[in-house]
């Protein structure tokens, strides 16, 4: 892999340069408590140290709501309306968010590639950044705390700048075209990179692996925990909307007021909504809130075979943004651990 250093004094210049490759989006502080990816109008607003964003990066590839076709109700014809997607730069993704996009790739670019997703994915330059975990993070248990593929550039924090890993052909091009702002990596930088990695690992609240969870879940479908926890659930869908790998969507035809034309639109859906499993005629494949609650746990802990990881990347968003205070990680640990023993990490 190719490594470079970006010195502190060149960071603003770097942001300026990468915005030449397309509209720049990066995490910004949007309120006292929250961060979110926003279009960068002012480089000084870009946040390098943040724990999580209120909406995941998936929104740039599967927008929360977007038009698929226009239709003519008289001829019955549908016409594709998506124009070219302008190149854009997505700066500041954490490792878990990059793994999440690769999971989405597996679904959206399978044997039936999704044209809308593919076009946006092709147009997006991905620049990752290292992070330190907070108490909600468990990407280490999901083995998604470090990425080796799926980004163009990845920035690792150093005391005096960033160590950059170049992860794609496009990454190489960007670097080649801007060599004047980069330096060679020194031995001190390598030591500092290792120190940061060590510190990061020591900060994780839990250790171990969740590799067996999928099966333990299957074996504990009768646990009383499901009743207790699903009872608290408001069914609001925040957990799935903020999840970087939740990808369910719904589609609707919306006629215009003239009654002659209209648009077929696609928008995020959630398995936590009653309508998710409801079919015409009234049958619901996930009738109760408990059914829907368990479904999310099973779905997130299932394996995405191409990567060998679970669909959950351990970002902690679903817990952090849950208005009912349902703790996904604690529930998983409760399920995994032996009944009667003190839960791991709870001492």
């Amino acid at each position: 892999m190719r490594y470079l250093k970006l010195g502190s004094r060149n960071i603003d210049e770097f942001l300026g340069r990468i915005s030449n490759y397309g509209d720049l989006y990066a995490p910004q502080k949007i309120s006292e408590k929250f961060y979110d990816y926003r279009k960068v109008e002012d480089i000084s607003q870009v946040e390098f140290n943040y724990n999580r964003t209120i909406t995941p990066a998936k929104k740039y590839f599967i927008p929360p709501k977007h038009e698929m076709f226009e239709f003519d109700m008289e001829t019955g014809e549908y016409t594709e309306t998506m124009g070219d997607v302008k190149p854009f730069v997505l700066f500041g993704l954490h490792a878990c968010s990059i793994v999440a996009l690769r999971i989405l790739d597996g679904v959206y670019l399978n044997e039936y590639p999704d044209k809308y997703y593919a076009a946006r994915r092709k147009a997006g330059i991905i620049i990752g950044i290292s992070c330190l975990p907070d108490e909600y993070c468990f990407c280490n248990l999901r083995r998604t705390d470090f990425v080796d593929i799926g980004f163009d550039l990845f920035l690792h924090e150093l005391p005096d700048g960033y160590l950059i890993r170049v992860g794609s052909e496009r990454g190489h091009e960007i670097v080649d075209e801007n060599m004047d702002i980069f330096e060679e990596v020194s031995n001190d930088d390598i030591e500092n990179f290792k120190k940061f990695e060590k510190k990061r690992h020591e900060m994780f609240k839990y250790e171990g692996s969740f590799d067996n969870l999928r099966y333990i879940l299957e074996l504990t479908e009768n646990s009383p925990l499901w009743d207790e926890e699903s009872e608290k659930c408001l069914g609001c869908g925040n957990c799935t909307m903020t999840c970087p790998t939740c990808r369910c969507y719904d589609v609707q035809d919306l006629p215009d007021i003239d009654g002659k034309h209209g648009k077929r639109i696609r928008f995020w859906d959630s398995c936590q909504f009653r309508s998710h499993g409801l079919v015409a005629g009234g049958h619901n494949f996930r009738e109760t809130k408990k059914d829907r609650f368990i479904n999310r746990y099973v779905c997130k802990n299932a394996y995405f075979y191409p990567l060998g990881t679970s669909y959950c990347v351990g970002c902690g968003n679903c817990t952090y943004f849950c208005p009912a205070g349902i703790d996904f990680l604690k529930n998983l640990i409760k399920i995994r651990d032996v009944v009667g023993e003190v839960a791991h990490g709870e001492q």
């Binding site: 959206y108 039936y112 719904d250 589609v251 035809d253 859906d269 059914d291």
Partner: protein, 273 residues
């Protein structure tokens, strides 16, 4: 890149009422080339769109050997199907597909095929049944067991009559009314009473509630779970493994891996909710 979600205009070339809420639609792509290149397997489905009303997956009921058109059997159950029921010969719908794995006719070679259908579940099986009749000498005895809620809900009545020439055809209704002198009860009871050899392969399509009692009867006749195929019911929406509504256990997109499963695999999946 092609847009897999784009529906192709297709004409309703014939519409026939089968019961008071179920119609048979004969459909042909407006583009002749598209119709010519359209091939499918029994048990596969298409997505049918009506501009302004939405889209739904519907199984193809005609056999693949019929190439000048294909047929969909549609029951009026929701907003889109109500609209389709108001449409007439010559009207245009949008079609994309076919999708799903479909039934494997080769799997039935050398066996006595048993087709077990409940309600509108006969529609996808009809495609396979016709195909089996067309290759008659590759199979043993053919049985068709069909259950409808009421006598008035029996679809493909004339064809069922005609099929008696080539197969054992038994019909039952959940609830009889005046004038019905046939069997009353569930379709599993037809299986129970039938003379079935263990060299049979059963294909089941209908409401999921009928699977278990039916398979139980088949088992008593020595038919293993791997000699049974079912077409699974789910809320399928996009048909191509994207929208997530039909995911079972987080892993199986029923629209891609299914909807047809051997019964042993189906049991795994249905447990996953």
């Amino acid at each position: 890149m092609d847009n897999e979600f784009l529906p192709f205009p297709a004409e309703l070339v014939d519409v026939k009422a089968l019961t008071k809420d179920t119609k048979l639609y004969r459909i042909r792509f407006a583009d002749e080339q598209k119709q010519k290149s359209f091939s499918f397997k029994p048990g596969q489905f298409v997505e049918i769109s009506v501009a302004g009303f939405g889209e739904a997956p519907i199984s193809i009921t005609s056999p693949p050997s019929t190439t000048e058109y294909f047929e969909l059997c549609i029951k009026k159950v929701g907003k889109l199907t109500e609209k389709i029921h108001r449409m007439k010969k010559g009207d245009i719908v949008g079609i994309r597909g076919p999708y799903g794995n479909g039934f494997s006719i080769e799997q039935l070679y050398g066996f006595n095929p048993i087709f077990i259908a409940g309600g509108i579940g006969l529609a996808p099986l009809r495609s396979l049944i016709k195909e089996v009749f067309a290759e008659r000498d590759k199979f043993g005895n053919i049985s068709i067991f069909f259950g409808a809620r009421r006598p008035g809900e029996i679809i493909f009545k004339d064809e069922l009559k005609e099929w008696e020439k080539m197969a054992e055809v038994k019909i039952t209704v959940d609830t009889a009314d005046d004038g019905w002198d046939g069997h009353v009860g569930f379709v599993s009871q037809l299986v129970e009473k039938a003379n079935i050899s263990d060299n049979s392969f059963a294909v089941i399509c209908g409401p999921p509630a009928m699977f278990e009692p039916t398979v139980e009867q088949l088992k008593k006749k020595g038919i293993e779970d791997i000699q049974v195929s079912v077409s699974a019911e789910r809320r399928m929406k996009c048909g191509i493994g994207k929208c997530g509504h039909c995911i079972a256990g987080g892993e199986v997109y029923v629209c891609l891996e299914g909807p047809v499963f051997t019964y042993d695999r189906y049991q795994e999946i249905s447990k996953m909710l």
